[in-house]
């Protein structure tokens, strides 16, 4: 068993290295681009919503940034992971290796990206005069939930993508819908209480809200809130694991 962990550990680091070099090798700016890109989106959103729509909320940039950051990690990770099986088909149809490694290595790539932008968020928050408290440590909770959720979704999507090659377009539509439902640039305060609760049915919105509660409001969400967040993550992971287990030996016929 120990031997096995060691063996796959090496393969895993090699896969991560490969995905990482491939992602950044071809671009001139390399890793800087991964920070610049969300930053530019942020600036555009900020210009549009604060100047043209006259949003006069306190710390609006941070409000926007938290939403944008979490959502970008979600789309980045799921889109990368969707390809994990198909793009590694030439490997797993020839060599017997655990297939989830391909997926996890893609996840590491997008997680690094996420962490870089997260640092940026903290810098922005400091500039914007947000008070840092010990409660910021609680941000680890939604981050872990988000990672788990993304891994689970990635498993489901990569398996689906093997069977149905138009998943990319369908997923594009779904993320588009989720984006509008995640209240990235607007607040839901004006809606009735019932509708506000309905927003929590969207896992991404829930995680975004967690971030905002800690950073902007300085409060730790309720236990129920925590439970719901963990439930989404675990359900996604359980479904993903189920799909992988069930179709593990079928993938090969479809690629």
């Amino acid at each position: 068993m120990l031997q096995k962990i060691k063996q796959y550990h090496f393969l895993f680091t090699e896969l991560v290295k490969r995905d990482f070099t491939k992602k950044y090798k071809r671009t001139v700016l390399g890793m800087a681009w991964s920070i610049l890109s969300p930053l530019m989106t942020l600036i555009i959103m900020w210009l549009v919503f604060s100047n043209f729509f006259g949003t006069s909320m306190e710390h609006y940039v941070i409000y926007l940034f938290t939403g944008q950051l979490v959502f970008a990690y979600f789309t980045d990770s799921t889109n990368l992971c969707m390809n994990a099986l198909v793009s590694n088909a030439s490997i797993f149809t020839k060599v017997n290796v655990p297939k989830y490694l391909f997926l996890l290595s893609q996840n590491v790539s997008s997680l690094i990206n996420f962490c870089l932008t997260l640092i940026l968020l903290f810098i922005f928050s400091a500039i914007d005069g947000v008070t840092f408290t010990w409660k910021f440590l609680m941000l680890l909770y939604p981050i872990i939930c988000l990672i788990t959720f993304n891994v689970g979704m990635g498993m489901i999507l990569s398996a689906f993508f093997v069977f149905f090659r138009d998943m990319q377009y369908l997923w594009g539509v779904v993320t588009q819908l989720l984006m509008w439902m995640s209240a990235i640039f607007y607040t839901i305060d004006t809606f009735s209480y019932k509708i506000q609760l309905l927003f929590l049915a969207n896992p991404i919105y829930l995680y975004i809200r967690y971030f905002r509660k800690i950073i902007l409001d300085g409060v730790i969400p309720t236990p129920q809130f925590h439970l719901l967040g963990a439930a989404y993550a675990l359900i996604a992971l359980a479904l993903g694991t189920y799909v992988y287990r069930k179709y593990n030996h079928e993938f090969l016929y479809y690629v």
Partner: protein
């Protein structure tokens, strides 16, 4: 003698049909109009064999006989529909050599990645890397992107990585014919070294002479069925005669070395 690989009544049902590369929309439409068909066929039918230390098994058969499918089951890439495969030792497979490499990565990066895929440790790769590159004669190409190599060079690298570990079970699918003459000689010598060191080797080849000169046992597959297993010389002669258009050779081979006819040890 220690039994290294035991294949018991392995049957593999292969799935095929026009279900590949279709989208959800297409799938839904076909399901609704009852035009979605998945066919199955038995690529390998009830094949058994057992290999002991030092054995070298040659598998012969025409295209579509199930040779590659059987090998995939042996390596664990495919799971047999029924039957079992018992392996005792590390498997190193050279199936379609150059595939599974990444064209954008350098030779060195690819060597490490392939080594990791074959289950080597990092420590082993660090110590064996120079040896691999030297054996593959790619010293001047280490930092080149893999796609710039010729296909001969690619196969040389693949062979060097897979053969250096002294695997207990080595699987070679049409790979002895890689590289130029000099490298072929070298790789054949390397192979003999591995075989002599007590490993089990399975060789799939279309070259009957090659099988005849190297192997200690032969398995003849035809449409997924094991026609004959055992004596190298006799089966190779009949297979050669079958290839040159003598259909009775198949029956004769089956009568003499068919399943159950010959003690496998």
């Amino acid at each position: 003698m220690r039994s290294v690989l035991k294949v018991n009544n392995v049957t593999i049902r292969y799935k095929y049909g026009d279900f590949r590369d279709i989208g959800l929309k297409e799938w839904t439409m076909r399901k609704l109009t009852h035009r979605y068909h998945v066919e199955h066929f038995l690529a390998v039918k009830n094949v058994s064999f057992e290999l002991f230390e030092g054995d070298m098994l040659g598998i012969v058969g025409s295209n579509g006989a199930g040779k590659s499918t059987l090998l995939k089951a042996v390596t664990g890439v495919m799971v047999p529909t029924s039957g079992t495969i018992e392996r005792d030792g590390r498997i190193s497979a050279l199936l379609e050599l150059a595939s599974g490499f990444d064209g954008d990565l350098t030779v060195k990066e690819n060597a490490y990645l392939r080594g990791a895929m074959l289950g080597y440790t990092k420590k082993f790769m660090n110590s064996a890397y120079d040896q691999i590159i030297e054996f593959a004669e790619l010293k001047d190409f280490e930092e080149r992107p893999f796609k710039q190599l010729s296909s001969g060079m690619q196969s040389r690298l693949a062979f060097s990585i897979a053969s250096l570990v002294q695997p207990e079970i080595l699987i070679l699918d049409e790979v002895l014919s890689v590289g130029d003459g000099a490298f072929q000689e070298k790789s054949a010598a390397k192979m003999m070294e591995i075989i002599k060191s007590g490993a089990v080797t399975i060789l799939v080849s279309h070259s009957v002479e090659q099988v005849e000169s190297l192997c200690t046992k032969v398995l003849w597959l035809n449409h997924g069925e094991a026609i004959a297993l055992g004596d190298t010389k006799g089966i190779c002669e009949l297979y050669q005669s079958f290839l040159s258009g003598n259909p009775d050779a198949l029956q004769e081979a089956s009568n003499r070395w068919g399943p159950g006819k010959e003690s496998l040890t």
